[in-house]
């Protein structure tokens, strides 16, 4: 072999740099910009905590002052607050529960790949891409008492005075329906990805060994899908309990305070009654709930990531 090269043994670089100091700082340097942005958002968060401990109403600037937990105490004694909690919980439980059931059902239907199921799983993504607020307005158009196509359909079905979101009896049903329209595809797509990521061979083995279908579903499919179900469910729960867009765009919390969920209530307190302190206190309660939920979520999620990685 000819040694025409310039960079043979002699080209061994003389410059030698130390790496230790640089290497330790590098990850911090890289994450610094994102970190600073993060701090910029942590400050208002701290401020919000402070607001919730103050007497603070924009309409009465003179009365502003630190009052410790008085806001929380009055909150917990207030029936409207408990109404908010109840509505939020009802909304969350209904949406998450129904969407999980429906989502799992649809995912199982779409599991087998055919032209139809492939087309349908693409179709399902469309509602998901529509802004929830916009989706809500679409449904508002469709449920309009004068010309709404859905109002027409239900009247044909024998409910001429079905008033959808304008009636306190059906308002919750209406917004839950919109939520389901927007977010069931999310659960479906996640669970479908989970189902399709399941190894095929165990099911072939079960087929070969003649294991009954119900046994396969409850002892194999469901446990294997559980991490996905939990992830999807918790994800949705965190969103649902904070729902604002759909409800606000549909009724702004009405009729009356039928749909005054946490964030709508807080919005109303802040922007209608200018009571910043009370709004902050409500949001702090909401934050505490989401914090607990998201911790559960993150733990589950990390386990999932590890497993996915271990298998790959």
């Amino acid at each position: 072999m000819s040694t025409s090269g310039v960079a043979s043994m002699s080209a061994r670089p003389v410059v030698r740099r130390r790496r230790a100091r640089m290497a330790g700082a590098l990850p911090y340097l890289l994450s610094m910009p994102a970190l600073l942005t993060c701090i910029g958002i942590l400050v208002p968060f701290g401020t919000a905590i402070y607001y919730s401990l103050e007497r603070y109403n924009l309409a009465f600037p003179a009365t502003r002052g630190f009052i410790w937990f008085a806001n929380y105490i009055s909150l917990f004694r207030d029936a409207t607050f408990w109404q908010t909690v109840a509505v939020s919980m009802a909304y969350t439980v209904l949406t998450v529960g129904l969407e999980l059931l429906l989502g799992l059902g649809i995912a199982l239907l779409l599991w087998r790949r055919t032209l139809v199921t492939n087309l349908l799983s693409v179709t399902l993504m469309l509602p998901l891409m529509v802004a929830p607020a916009i989706a809500s307005m679409m449904w508002k158009l469709m449920t309009n008492a004068d010309f709404g196509i859905l109002s027409y359909f239900v009247s044909q079905l024998g409910f001429p005075n079905f008033r959808w979101a304008s009636s306190p009896h059906t308002a919750l049903f209406t917004v839950v329906l919109v939520d389901m329209w927007v977010y069931t595809p999310f659960i479906t797509i996640l669970l479908l990805a989970g189902l399709r990521a399941l190894p095929r061979q165990p099911f072939e083995a079960a087929e070969l060994d003649g294991v009954p279908g119900t046994f396969v579903f409850f002892r194999i499919i469901l446990p294997m899908l559980m991490p996905y179900i939990l992830t999807a469910g918790l994800f949705r729960m965190l969103d649902s309990i904070q729902q604002f867009d759909i409800i606000y765009a549909m009724t702004q919390g009405g009729p009356g305070d039928t749909l005054m969920v946490f964030q709508i209530q807080a919005y109303t307190q802040a922007f209608i009654f200018t009571n910043i302190a009370r709004a902050s206190a409500i949001l702090m309660v909401l934050w505490a709930i989401t914090f607990v939920l998201s911790n559960v979520f993150v733990k589950n999620w990390l386990r999932l990531r590890e497993r996915a990685r271990g298998r790959a």
Binding site: Q201, E204, L208, I220, R311
Partner: protein, 378 residues
């Protein structure tokens, strides 16, 4: 515990134009162990899956015993299978995984317990019975998968790459124990593998496949000594067969070296082989490395050569010697004590009966050993 007959079975996958499996015929005896050997994509796994009922059969017939199983569901065929990817049920314990297949046979639980215990001991997974599959190593999962298949009372046992992930130290002993278990239980077995040592070690007969076509279906010794074509010759054996281009010249076959010059002659027997081979015909000459005789030793009939040793791989119980002789590179297997230092000149003999001759164009074997026995005519 029955026969398995495949008659001209073919598989064409939807949307594919090529046949993944092309008219494969195999008649497997009751209690016989057969290996399907080939490189990845040769159709061996597809064949196995057709037997299992996991793939539809495009053409041909499969019979388990006297029963035509073409249209039967997998569960109706009474076959047991160990999957290459293990196919264990992750939510179930190892013990439940193994016993799962016995569910529908309604075996009594005490009996299940006993059989699980026995098979677990054989495959050395007794300590893992209460664990979950994702928490044990790949090699252990593979053993569990084997256990799940072998514990069943099936007509035919299908093993897909059953030992590919086993720890090397465990492989030899499990191979022997499984072979003992299969023979003792008279279990009809088809084992798919890409590893020829696996196939040779385990099987009574080996089916070598390539590009969907069955190349040869014979005993391990036949495959080694009488390969049907060049593919089988170069696929079977470690080290693989030495192959040289050659030309029939009168009463000898002239072996050509890398520069297409005649390196040495292999004499043909006086049994009229020349007329059959045809003077001037281009052929390939194959010599099994372990048949090449290294060193002086007793007189062996064949071509005596002198080689320069270019490599000597000492492997403990034998050694692989690479040498050049007149522009040809030859690998020989010798005893562990053969003295062949690098660079030295050693006497070598290529015994006449170790020479296989193949047609240069079609690769089909013409003659095995230059003794009168002739297997194939091109």
């Amino acid at each position: 515990m029955t026969t398995l007959h495949m008659d001209k079975i073919s598989k064409v996958y939807a949307g594919a134009s090529e046949r993944a499996v092309d008219a494969v015929t195999m008649h497997i005896e009751d209690g016989e162990i057969v290996a399907l050997l080939g490189s990845s994509g040769c159709g061996k796994t597809t064949t196995l899956r057709m037997v299992a009922g996991l793939e539809t059969i495009t053409d041909g017939e499969i019979r388990v015993g006297n029963r035509l199983v073409n249209t039967l569901k997998p569960s109706q065929r009474n076959v047991a299978m160990a999957f290459e990817t293990y196919a264990l049920y992750p939510p179930l314990r190892v013990r439940e995984n193994i016993a799962f297949g016995l569910l529908r046979d309604r075996v009594a639980s005490a009996e299940i317990e006993k059989r699980v215990k026995r098979i677990a001991a054989m495959l050395e997974i007794t300590d893992l019975l209460e664990r979950y599959p994702p928490s044990i190593s790949g090699g252990a999962q593979q053993r569990v998968s084997l256990a799940r298949a072998l514990i069943r009372n099936a007509s035919v046992y299908l093993l897909d790459e059953p030992m590919s992930q086993l720890e090397p130290q465990l492989r030899a002993v499990l191979r022997a124990r499984i072979k003992h278990y299969l023979i003792a239980g008279k279990m009809t077995t088809v084992c798919v593998t890409h590893d020829q040592t696996e196939a040779i070690g385990l099987a009574d007969r080996i089916a070598v496949m390539e590009e969907g076509v069955l190349q040869q279906f014979a005993t391990p010794i036949d495959l080694q000594e009488r390969p049907a074509n060049l593919f089988v010759a170069s696929f079977i054996g470690e080290p693989p067969m030495n192959l040289f281009p050659a030309v029939v010249q009168g009463e000898t076959v002239a072996v050509l070296n890398e520069s297409q010059e005649v390196a040495f002659h292999v004499p043909l027997p006086p049994s009229g082989a020349t007329s059959r081979l045809g003077d001037g015909r281009r052929v390939m000459v194959g010599v099994r490395p372990h048949k090449v005789h290294v060193g002086p030793g007793e007189a062996v009939e064949g071509s005596a050569l002198v080689g320069e040793v270019t490599s000597n791989h000492w492997l403990g119980d034998n050694c692989h010697i690479g040498f050049r002789t007149r522009g040809c590179f030859v690998i020989a297997v010798g005893d562990r004590d053969v003295a062949a230092p690098l660079g030295s000149q050693i006497p070598v003999t290529i015994p006449s009966d170790a020479v296989n001759i193949f047609d240069a164009e079609t690769g089909v074997a013409i003659q095995h050993g230059l003794n009168p026995a002739v297997l194939t005519a091109a």
